[in-house]
């Protein structure tokens, strides 16, 4: 049996690629390309929502209630209140693609600050932050979400806060690890010699150099946050009606799955494809970052 043994490849460090070059490197990863297209597809739809949605997403067509299945007028059918599913999907993509990035971004701001402080200063700051995040991390995520949303009420802002609270310790852990490594580098020592302030060193010297793994993680986290928003909507803890939200659409129509399977299955497919896009994109980027 032929056995391939990986040769010990010398690690040649290419100059750090610019943003555009990094993105164009994705061409080498077919998986990454599929991911880019899936995500771009939904981004374009979300941007063009007012132009391409055939109907008002909250308007009921009562004549369609008799037969809500897909027709020439309503391409993907209507839901149990006679609202056009295609329009709700299109407008719902806006909801997800606004809330998820804001939530991930705010989790990153909080997590990066905690991770940088813990990794740069070590000592009691590190101990305190690590202990606090250990406690948050030991708690089952979904139950934490349920408590936060159930107590503070369902709204987009509370979803952002809940995601920030749950995800920032995880991010802090990653940032801390990268900071511990980077703070020993020569360029950090040089910056210290120049007399730069610790804030400058953390934000200008350390954080940009930690971006590689962080971008991949952010991309995975976008997919995960999309699932979270969907789960909260499905459990009745998502955005308040009537604004279109994919998870909420599934919740409202899941009881009808045996009669009109298109009602819950279409938003299910929409969420799955967006999450798949983010995950494939993250995988493609990881593959490329391992290469250089």
């Amino acid at each position: 049996m032929a056995v391939e043994i990986a040769p010990a490849t010398p690690s040649l460090r290419r100059p750090t690629p610019t943003w555009w070059r990094r993105l164009s490197l994705l061409r080498e990863s077919p998986i990454g390309i599929v991911g880019v297209f899936l995500v771009l597809f939904w981004v374009v739809i979300a941007i063009l929502a007012p132009l391409i949605a055939p109907f008002d997403p909250n308007e009921s067509d009562y004549t369609a209630l008799l037969d809500p299945t897909p027709s020439a007028l309503h391409w993907l059918g209507t839901d149990n209140q006679g609202r056009d599913i295609l329009s709700r999907i299109i407008w719902g993509s806006r909801t997800v693609l606004i809330v998820a990035p804001i939530a991930v971004f705010s989790a990153y701001v909080a997590g990066s600050i905690m991770g940088l402080l813990a990794g740069y200063y070590r000592g009691w700051v590190d101990n305190l932050l690590t202990r606090v995040s250990d406690i948050i991390l030991s708690f089952p995520v979904i139950i934490l979400y349920m408590i936060i949303i159930a107590v503070f009420g369902p709204s987009a802002l509370n979803i952002v806060l809940a995601v920030t609270f749950v995800a920032s310790p995880q991010i802090a852990r990653i940032v801390r690890g990268l900071t511990l490594e980077l703070r020993e580098q020569d360029f950090v020592a040089a910056a210290k010699m120049r007399g730069e302030s610790p804030i400058y060193i953390m934000l200008v010297e350390i954080l940009p150099n930690a971006r590689g793994p962080l971008i991949v993680d952010a991309c995975l986290r976008m997919g995960y946050t999309t699932i979270t928003i969907g789960v909260l909507g499905f459990l009745g803890l998502g955005l308040p009606p009537p604004d279109p939200d994919w998870g909420g659409m599934i919740k409202e129509s899941y009881g009808m799955v045996s009669v009109y399977p298109h009602m819950p299955l279409i938003p299910c497919a929409a969420i799955s494809s967006l999450v798949l896009g983010f995950n494939l994109l993250a995988d493609g980027m990881r593959e490329i970052s391992l290469r250089d």
């Binding site: 049996m1 056995v3 391939e4 043994i5 990986a6 998986i31 250990d134 406690i135 030991s138 708690f139 089952p140 995520v141 979904i142 139950i143 349920m146 408590i147 936060i148 949303i149 159930a150 107590v151 503070f152 009420g153 997919g223 699932i227 969907g230 789960v231 499905f234 459990l235 009745g236 803890l237 998870g247 599934i250 899941y254 799955v257 045996s258 399977p261 819950p264 299955l265 299910c268 497919a269 969420i271 799955s272 999450v275 798949l276 995950n279 494939l280 995988d283």
Partner: protein
């Protein structure tokens, strides 16, 4: 080693303490009133005030927390306003139901993910590896409620082979094992990909080690290289990840339970959260934290037994 367990158990207590206290405080913001929920919409303000007084809800939060703590240590988890019975009468049967689901799912996930992960990581970049890797990304990308809806539409509505709900009561049409098939399937599909990727990554790393090269070069049959050298070493790193799935399977299955109307721990917690049933939320949070931290301790302990290079600290 004794010190290891002592510090870990100490941390378990601290975590439980902090989390239950935080949940207690957070519930202070809860817009609902406990007395109103028990007595219903037609109770007079006097009745509400009397019950609030009787239940001691007008005391400061610290006093109430220590009251709750003392009560809990005596084994009394309080009274559920949602189920209108003692929390003890609800929570343990629910936990057992979820345990049943989790045990079946776990015993499917572990062998399957090890098999797939090892086969994929055995030859990095092979067609089998790429197929398994992409498939595992796809299955983890489909949220549980989505795959649940798909399977219900196919197996329950279209083919009529399985029931769409799993209330765990043996009805005329469906036996209990039949009711368990779809919830387990949804849980396994969602969780499997993640574990497979962990096992695969570890296997890929092990296959690059010099001792594997030595074993191959000395003419050892490939099967033996995998079974005797690679497999054992590749299982060390994913061990913790696999054990942590127990935690997810017991406390994270809210969606599956809501989807199939399964009378489990997660759905109890969801109903309690929606109803703002503080006693159940508190008890549920406490149980969830204990399970989470215990699996972590067991995971760390097992990891150290498997990997003698790490010392007990």
């Amino acid at each position: 080693m004794l010190r290891f367990f002592a510090t870990r158990l100490g941390w378990l207590l601290v975590t439980v303490f902090v989390v239950t206290f935080l949940v207690f405080c957070v519930n202070e913001f809860s817009p609902g009133q406990v007395a109103r929920k028990i007595l219903g919409p037609y109770a007079t303000p006097e009745q509400l005030a009397l019950l609030t007084q009787q239940m001691g809800l007008n005391r400061p939060v610290f006093l109430r927390y220590f009251g709750w703590l003392e009560q809990t240590l005596r084994g009394d988890l309080g009274y559920s306003t949602l189920y209108r019975t003692k929390v003890n009468n609800v929570i343990w049967t629910r936990l057992a139901n979820t345990g049943l689901l989790a045990t079946i799912a776990f015993s499917v996930i572990v062998p399957l993910s090890v098999l797939l992960g090892i086969s994929a990581g055995m030859r990095e970049g092979s067609r089998l590896d790429r197929t398994i890797s992409v498939a595992s990304i796809v299955t983890t990308s489909v949220p549980e409620f989505a795959s649940g809806a798909f399977w219900v539409a196919i197996f329950a509505t279209w083919l009529g082979l399985l029931p769409g709900t799993s209330p765990l009561e043996s009805s005329a049409n469906w036996s209990i094992p039949q009711q368990l098939v779809m919830p387990v399937m949804v849980m396994v599909l969602y969780d499997l990909g993640y574990v497979v990727r962990m096992v695969r990554a570890s296997m890929v790393e092990v296959m690059m080690r010099p001792y594997i090269r030595t074993a191959v070069l000395k003419g050892m049959p490939y099967r033996d290289v995998i079974m005797k050298h690679a497999l054992r070493n590749a299982m060390i790193a994913p061990f913790t990840v696999i054990l942590l799935q127990i935690n997810y399977l017991i406390t994270g299955v809210v969606v599956v339970e809501a989807l199939f109307a399964y009378p489990g721990f997660g759905r109890m917690f969801l109903d309690a959260a929606l109803f703002q049933d503080i006693a159940v939320i508190e008890a549920g949070a406490m149980v969830a934290v204990v399970i989470a931290v215990l699996t972590q301790i067991i995971g760390d302990f097992g990891y150290m037994l498997l990997n003698p290079r790490i010392r007990f600290q």
